[in-house]
């Protein structure tokens, strides 16, 4: 069974009488351990898709099953718990809280899952080590470079050991060299077995991932599946 199963997902907004289909009948499976990119120009619906995948939003039509649980009519509190335990987010603008130091920022998801303080610190330090930032634990986010901030944000996304990590334009706010380093980090995490979904408008970045899904006008326009293309043998 796939880690994420989307079946006939539609997201419809109404502006006045006009119907806007942000997502139109999308069916998609994501297997555990995959490294996927969702690409598309702005306004294509890729962000809406990511929000629905990330339990931040719910679809107008269709069903979504995440890690064996059907997210149908889930309460906001259940969705919050899902985001907390099963999902990690990496954002374009890092979204680290400026008043907390790096370690405290990384501890934040565990605060909301009531992990005891000592374990929180231990796990946060481990996550920092994973992204190569263990010497910056006591720094404030604004004392770090963009690349370091994004590494800290990735550590925060990983700290609760989520089933899937969503990265929304993670290199969009970085220069190309730092961006490459961040992509290398994602590749390395992918090799370690993490499921990662990369959302971007940049085909060059999407080229890093084995599987690519292109969204246009709310529909899946093109997929590059390594298995279907015969690029991968397993």
């Amino acid at each position: 069974m796939a880690l994420v199963e989307l079946r006939n997902i539609s997201k419809i907004y109404y502006v006045g009488d006009e119907e806007i289909r942000a997502l139109d009948d999308i069916t998609l499976d994501i297997q555990s351990g995959e490294f996927i990119s969702i690409i598309g120009p702005s306004g294509s619906g890729k962000s809406t898709l990511m929000h629905i995948l990330g339990c931040l939003d719910s679809p107008t039509k269709g069903t979504i099953q995440l890690d064996g649980t059907l997210l149908h009519n889930a309460s906001p509190a259940q969705l919050a718990a899902f985001r907390n335990r099963k999902i990690g987010f990496v954002f374009q603008f890092f979204n680290l809280l400026p008043k907390l130091n790096v370690l405290q920022n990384i501890e934040l998801p565990m605060v909301y899952s009531s992990v005891p303080a000592r374990e929180r610190k231990e796990r946060a330090l481990n996550a920092l080590k994973m992204v190569g930032m263990d010497n910056r634990a006591k720094h404030r986010p604004l004392q770090l470079s963009g690349g370091q901030q994004q590494r800290a944000a990735i550590a925060r996304a990983l700290v609760n050991n989520p089933r899937i990590v969503f990265a929304d334009e993670p290199t969009g706010n970085l220069d190309s060299r730092t961006g490459e380093a961040i992509l290398d980090l994602f590749l390395q995490l992918s090799r370690e077995g993490r499921t990662i979904v990369l959302v971007t408008h940049d085909p060059e970045i999407a080229a890093v991932t084995p599987r690519r899904i292109e969204i246009r006008d709310g529909k899946i326009a093109k997929t590059l599946d390594p298995k279907l293309a015969g690029l991968e043998t397993k």
Binding site: H51, G54, L56, D57, P76, A77, A80, A81, R83, N84, R85, F89, F91, N95, L97, K99, L100, L108, P109, V111, Y112, S113, S114, R156, N160
Partner: protein, 452 residues
């Protein structure tokens, strides 16, 4: 979500905006300290009144005074006997609710003199030894005259410190205290031996002031010495009056002063007043009725007497205190509410600043409830810190108020007032935080994360 972490987040948020938080707290600080200071002032007033009430003998004291014969008994006026010693015996035997009775013959416009020094007391009273208990006197030196002194009509007197001060010199002026036991004084030309002196009566406040002055080095007084007059306020007057007491035995008074002034040689048997205490303050009406019935009997059914109780006086004071408490409380509550509005305002500003933070917190798993609690706790933390600072500040405020308008009654900060004010400030924090917390909790995480 751990409550301690939420509270510590609140503290951090406040610390990050020190100046803004301080300004916000100011409203609460002022509200709490004015609430405490107001109640301290009222408490001081209350204490002063209670002291004065105790000094004049308490609520259960009833004075029987002579009164003009009422109009419907005008034709019987020549048979009215007035209050006499018979009334005292009748009450003692027939009115069980009457506990203690003291007759009194008062002598007004007297001149008391000793070796060229003069003193005009308000009254010289001829009375029974029980006057000490009745009027809550304390004999500090010597003794009160006793029944034998009374029945032998001895020329002895017991005086208060104001009388001593006038005739022998006050301790403050001559530097040491004179205890004039055995000395003789003239009361309207009659020689009396002082056999006892009462202690010096004063309000708690006056005592503290006096002790403070005593500790000041000599020679610091400004300008020429002047008398501040007797009693600087109504409360002080009560104490001065009590200190100016001169008591002589009832029979002495009767024989020495009534025979001399009467037109025939039968001394005038009428008492100036008689005072009794009732056994149970809650049965005041019954007791008065009882006394009334007895006295009507001894007065040949002519109502030439009236009762005077302390009830009216005490009711007026209670009403005044209640009014002061109410108006002060309302003003303080208004300033607390204003402080609460300030908190609400700043919390709205604060969440608008932190929309992205709230969005992020929601994205990483914060529930609506935990965001709500976080904002609420921040609001309550501001209010509670403000409340604590207000409690500290109230001491200063009370000092300031006392310095600006000195009163005879030292304000007293009570624990209950502090508790109420503090609870009120915490409550204001909760109420002020509700709306901003609700607004923050309802934010849509996607919108909030996109917010610029």
């Amino acid at each position: 979500m751990n409550l301690w972490i939420t509270i510590s987040i609140g503290f951090k948020e406040i610390w990050a905006h020190k100046f803004r938080s301080l300004l916000t707290m100011l409203g609460i600080i002022l509200g709490v300290s004015s609430l405490v200071a107001m109640s301290a002032l009222v408490k001081g007033m209350e204490n002063g009144m209670r002291e004065a009430l105790i000094a004049i003998g308490g609520l259960e004291k009833v004075r029987v005074e002579a009164q003009e014969v009422p109009a419907y008994q005008e034709h019987l006026a020549d048979q009215a006997v007035g209050c006499t010693i018979n009334d005292v015996y009748a009450l003692q035997h027939s009115a069980p609710l009457v506990k203690l009775i003291t007759p009194e013959i008062d002598l007004y416009r007297t001149t008391v003199s000793r070796q060229g020094k003069y003193f005009n007391p308000f009254v010289v009273a001829g009375t029974w030894p029980s006057a000490v208990e009745m009027n809550q006197h304390v004999v500090q030196y010597g003794r009160m005259f006793n029944d034998i002194d009374d029945s032998n009509a001895r020329s002895v007197c017991v005086i208060g410190t104001a009388t001593r001060d006038a005739l022998f010199g006050a301790p403050d002026d001559i530097g040491h205290e004179i205890i004039p036991l055995g000395d003789r004084i003239n009361i309207n030309g009659q020689l009396f031996t002082i056999i006892g002196m009462f202690k010096h009566y004063e309000s708690e406040q006056a005592r503290l002031e006096r002790e403070l002055e005593k500790n000041q080095p000599a020679g610091t007084s400004k300008g020429s010495a002047r008398s501040r007059g007797h009693g600087h306020s109504s409360g002080g007057f009560v104490f001065w009056l009590k200190n100016a007491t001169i008591y002589i035995p009832l029979n002495t008074m009767w024989i020495k002063f009534r025979t001399a002034t009467g037109t025939n040689n039968i001394p005038d048997p009428r008492l100036s007043s008689l005072t009794f205490k009732i056994a149970d303050i809650n049965r005041m009406d019954t007791a008065l009725q009882q006394a009334h019935n007895v006295l009507m009997h001894t007065h040949n059914q002519i109502e030439d007497f009236a009762f005077r109780t302390m009830e009216n006086w005490s009711e007026n004071i209670t009403a005044a205190i209640k009014n002061a408490r109410l108006s002060g409380g309302i003003i303080a509550a208004i300033s607390l509410v204003v402080g609460g509005i300030g908190i609400m305002n700043i919390m709205f500003a604060s969440i608008t600043e932190r929309i992205r933070e709230i969005g992020l917190r929601k994205a990483i798993g914060a529930t609506t409830f935990s965001i709500f609690i976080q904002i609420l706790v921040e609001s309550v933390v501001i209010a509670v810190i403000g409340g604590l600072a207000g409690l500290l500040n109230s001491y200063g405020l009370v000092k300031l108020l006392t310095a600006l308008s000195p009163t005879n009654n030292a304000p007293q900060i009570t624990f209950v007032a502090m508790l109420v004010a503090f609870a009120f400030s915490a409550g204001v924090g909760v109420v002020a935080g509700l709306l901003p917390a609700l607004k923050a909790a309802r934010l849509d995480p996607i919108e909030a994360l996109r917010y610029e």
